[in-house]
Symmetry: C2
Subunit: 316 residues, 2 copies
């Protein structure tokens, strides 16, 4: 489907970093950057923008902070054909720590928030816009939000100057019919704004739901190489690019970087379709319990986990 | 989605057997049978019906043949709450080798055929019906069939007595829009017949496409435990059952059998989402080249494989 308004954002380093505390080498980040550039991807999200007062450099890698120095060390400061993005969580970045856009390699800052944080998100996003950045607000975990709260949040977002609003399926709980209904709601209640989508793959629906959102008119699409991301991961970028028929895209460099850099990482980190993530998705739960299980020696104790999550008493 | 007409068929042993030449132990088959029964699955496809003149027992396990003796050895001959099915390929089973239904544990025979074999498939299916079996015809690889040939095949199937016709995405090449269009075509051109769906997961769309087909009115649904099946595998049964809201279904026994029997098998056999299968799916190709690669030492040489499959010349 060739629609020139469609923009693809690679979140390999940012969402994938949730699995390794953003401890990616500069070589890895450079390889992903080069592949994305060659593939014609529009944006690469290189990590989170966080204050060093909030997180320790000893525990977290450079892509938790996205300092200008670290970005330049990894990918230089030459001309870029791809825009760079970083995500900011409410309360984890001090306004004064955000440089003005003209002094930063970053082109876009995406503000992630839960529904009760919308006012703070709008304030931070406006601050970023005033510093010269492209800005989005990514409203997370809407699968747990009732219609009254969601409508109120969308009303607040509609009143804001923020031009791009993301529909986010944080828990991988949505079916295509949910995506249809929510896409239409976002488009109706946010006239004149661009809508984006960010999916999780707990039920193997991340790519399918992204396609559904495209059919409904959503134009900003998140994906990651081989689907790397928290828990079950995201929409696989190589699948999305093969689906989109825009002639500017080229999937071959993505295949190459998966071979050279993602497969070796996959030997060390378990993202993708696993039953614990499937269970948390089906139950519309945060993946944290499933992630804790996957990191424990009980990772294959599926029945016990299912019973815990559904409060089914053990048979005696 | 609760629709009483929906029937779920587990093809774990039959389609999964394409990955290990049907060398499943009786314990494995019994465990899958018990789990399916407890989960409320309607049909279990236990393998292929083949003549021993066509295939060697030394090379292939019992579920390539589905002899009555082998079935009873694995799962006994007591009362069954689940119907048993076997698949028959054109030309690989002699009519005389098919017992009458009253002397068989099998309730259903599904005839698989390519579009040029439809006449032979109808003949074999009618033969099976006359012997007392429920019967379906599964028209394979329709992603490679032009509309004139497909319409002619559907016309022949429409004239037959066979009550259930399957839409089969053998190569995992279809998007939901293809499923929408084909489901509607099958329903229109086969009035009064029941339509089934069998998907492959090359593009992580097997479950999503099964959902699309349900929305379009398809009622016979194939799936397998943890998606086991040829290459990228099939629609995961545990996902499908979690989606269907029919109170007769229970996902817990499926979780239990995945833990005990499927995870250990997954250590030995690579089915699921791998880039070679993704490439063959995107290119609408038979998975045989991808399967050969996956069994070779070059399984991670993704770029070379992509270039071979797309005939892209090597850079010098």
């Amino acid at each position: 489907m060739f629609r020139p308004e469609i923009k693809v954002l690679d979140c390999t380093v940012r969402d994938g970093g949730l699995m390794n505390k953003w401890q990616f080498s500069n070589d890895f980040v450079k390889a992903v950057y080069d592949a994305n550039t060659e593939a014609g991807i529009d944006y690469m999200e290189i990590g989170y923008l966080s204050s060093e007062k909030s997180f320790s450099r000893e525990e977290f890698g450079p892509w938790k902070f996205c300092s200008e120095k670290d970005i330049q060390k990894a990918i230089g400061n030459g001309e870029r054909k791809i825009k760079l993005s970083a995500m900011a969580d409410i309360g984890r970045i001090a306004y004064d720590d955000i440089p003005v856009c003209s002094e930063s390699s970053l082109d876009m800052i995406r503000v992630a928030c839960y529904v009760h944080q919308v006012d703070k998100a709008v304030d931070l996003a406006h601050h970023c816009m005033d510093k010269g950045y492209e800005t989005t607000i990514n409203l997370m975990a809407v699968s747990t939000v009732g219609p009254r709260d969601l409508n109120e949040a969308l009303e607040d977002l509609n009143k804001s100057r923020v031009p791009v609003i993301y529909l986010v399926d944080s828990f991988g709980a949505f079916y295509s019919e949910d995506i249809d209904a929510l896409s239409q709601k976002y488009m109706e209640r946010l006239p004149g704004k661009t809508i984006g989508i960010h999916t999780h793959n707990n039920q193997q629906l991340a790519f399918a739901n992204t396609i559904s959102s495209i059919i409904n008119g959503i134009n900003y699409l998140d994906a990651s190489l081989y689907g790397i991301g928290r828990g079950a991961g995201n929409c696989p970028l190589e699948l999305l690019l093969s689906f989109l028929k825009n002639p500017k895209f080229n999937v071959e460099p993505l295949i190459a970087v998966v071979e050279k850099h993602i497969l070796p990482l996959r030997e060390k980190i378990d993202w993708g379709y696993f039953i614990p993530y499937m269970i948390s998705g089906v139950l519309n739960q945060h993946p944290r319990a499933a992630m804790a299980l996957m990191e424990s020696e009980k990772k294959n104790d599926l029945l016990e986990f299912y019973r815990q999550m559904t409060n089914t008493p053990e048979m005696i």
